[in-house]
Symmetry: C2
Subunit: 342 residues, 2 copies
């Protein structure tokens, strides 16, 4: 194992403000303009094809486009193209493929089929010369400089930022000053590292946790859980707080931890009720939020942007949990940087 | 705890053929006709609002409508209505709300808003006098006679059957003889009970399992995992086989079981590759399929109908796992039959 301070994953987590700021200045205006050009097209819906962390970014887009633009978002089942030979008919839709490498054949196949149907096909990728980029009409380049770590960190936050620029251009509502301060909020979010390290040491003693979120907090919960699995080999399962009540809550008992991701928004009271119920059942609850009562804090943002800084405490928790469990965060077993599924 | 043979859950599992047959004769023709009437409307997409098991039925609909009708399906985020005050604009879409009780306010809110937008709003419920039914233009009554068990069993298979009738009427392609034999295939699937009991005894010694599926097998994997959680308090996590490779597979090691749901279809070779990889990593793999090599068998069906009988071995496994773990399958802790989320 490399020295802790030299871990590739930690360096990439810490570089997020710089890389997000680079996207802001170099790509931001172009992506806003792309969003503006979409506004006039009267699109019927948005179909997004993605896997892993990128799929969590697609869930963010579902809330973002739904709440801010009132545009319905469907998450593609790529196997409909690769295994069943037919993408649904999506004429008049925007189709987005998200892949850091731009190399996963199933995601490429969805964009190719979308082109055949005459849709606007947008690729979000770090590789503008990838098969995914070639299958698109428009490419949003993440400019994260070839993330090296197997677990995606800056790729994820940069994808959320790219989607936020696209939605902002599309609606041109709200203050762009909020959008422009995302890199700074992510920088502030990094200050949580000592808290994350302390919680990781406690979490390491437990067999499993759940990660709960609602609305804009839900994609963050998905991403936290995947990082805890990938980086720390820790069994962590994400749920929307509402779906959790429809069944899985029956497993809640002492010995379990519940990480509750709570960006300030209309889901807060639900999450607080749930936290109290879990506490009564002996679950150790850890609240990540933007207020002084939180166990893990991230800086306050308008809710539509909060998922970006709110992701950071989960990345740091996963990193320190790996160390607490004597795992090398740079070398998770059995997975590679580029996964090619069909 | 009641005598095993008297468990409400077991009685409801065993009554599925009878209740599905009742739906077939009493509701089938009407639902096919409703499907036919949708075919001429040139619908832009289908939005489905559901929670828990009903949400897994919605995932089935995504493959069913996608592969057979080439209609895109979006799963609603009900909180967009209840918490963010806006359903996306879905004029020209079909909107379906699925709820056994018809009482969950968030699902009702989505249908009400769909009506406001002038959409065709369909309720799938066991309660034709429920708030959900009142919020719909068309009601598909499941006729499962007020399922009593907290864990949904026949509600789920009846919902899949209802969706299959709807899709069949819509496309009028394929043989309706296949559709008509679903209750009989479910009856045959019940014969797996001794195998399920034997596997449950082995599974009980393990701390957790994953449940894997692809395409039409994926919603079945989701439902199996929820049953194992709800009924047996057993930690079971479902994944699409492709998403599993994009990260969570790193946790695969000896001591873990992987239940692989494999209806005969174009995803079979992927699942077999994955099964071999997991076996090499020391995972105990259990294959549920429609051939003689399976550890748990269900009768062969055309793939679009296979999820209905393929659900049954998972129900029986959960039931016997509850007993093997000394749990009462009729009284899971902390959940109630009707969950009202907002």
């Amino acid at each position: 194992m490399t020295e802790r301070r030299d871990a590739v994953l930690r360096r990439e987590i810490l570089r997020q403000p710089e890389l997000l700021d680079q996207f802001r200045t170099r790509e931001g205006p172009r992506v806003r303009a792309l969003g503006r050009s979409l506004a006039s097209r009267n699109l019927r819906g948005v179909l997004i094809a993605a896997r892993g962390s990128s799929d969590h970014a697609a869930v963010y887009a579902k809330y973002l486009f739904g709440a801010r633009l009132r545009v319905p978002v469907a998450l593609a089942a790529p196997s409909l193209v690769t295994r069943y030979g037919a993408l649904p008919r999506v004429e008049g839709w925007l189709v987005i493929g998200i892949s850091q490498s731009g190399a996963s054949p199933d995601i490429v196949a969805v964009l190719e089929e979308a082109q055949t149907q005459g849709c606007v096909a947008v690729a979000i990728t770090d590789h503008p010369d990838s098969p995914l980029a070639r299958a698109a009409n428009e490419v949003i380049e993440l400019r994260v400089g070839g993330e090296r770590s197997i677990a995606a960190t800056v790729t994820f936050t940069a994808t959320l930022q790219a989607l936020a620029y696209l939605a902002f251009g599309w609606s041109e509502s709200g203050a762009d000053t909020d959008l422009e301060t995302v890199p700074e909020r992510v920088r502030q979010a990094l200050e949580v590292e000592p808290q994350a390290a302390e919680l990781a040491a406690r979490l390491a003693a437990l067999p499993a946790c759940v990660v709960l979120g609602r609305g804009f907090g839900f994609p963050v919960a998905l991403e936290w859980a995947l990082k805890l699995k990938e980086v720390a080999s820790f069994w962590a399962e994400p749920y929307s707080a509402a779906d959790y009540r429809h069944g899985p809550i029956t497993l809640a008992s002492s010995g379990l931890a519940a990480l509750i991701v709570d960006p300030h928004g209309p889901g807060r009271s639900d999450l607080e009720d749930l936290r109290q119920e879990l506490t009564r059942r002996g679950v150790w609850t850890v609240r990540a939020a933007d207020d002084r009562f939180a166990d893990l804090t991230f800086p306050a943002s308008p809710e539509w942007l909060a998922p970006i800084p709110a992701t950071v405490p989960g990345q740091l928790l996963a990193l320190h949990l790996a160390w607490a469990r004597d795992r090398d965060p740079d070398h998770p077993e059995g997975i590679t940087k580029v996964t090619r599924t069909l």
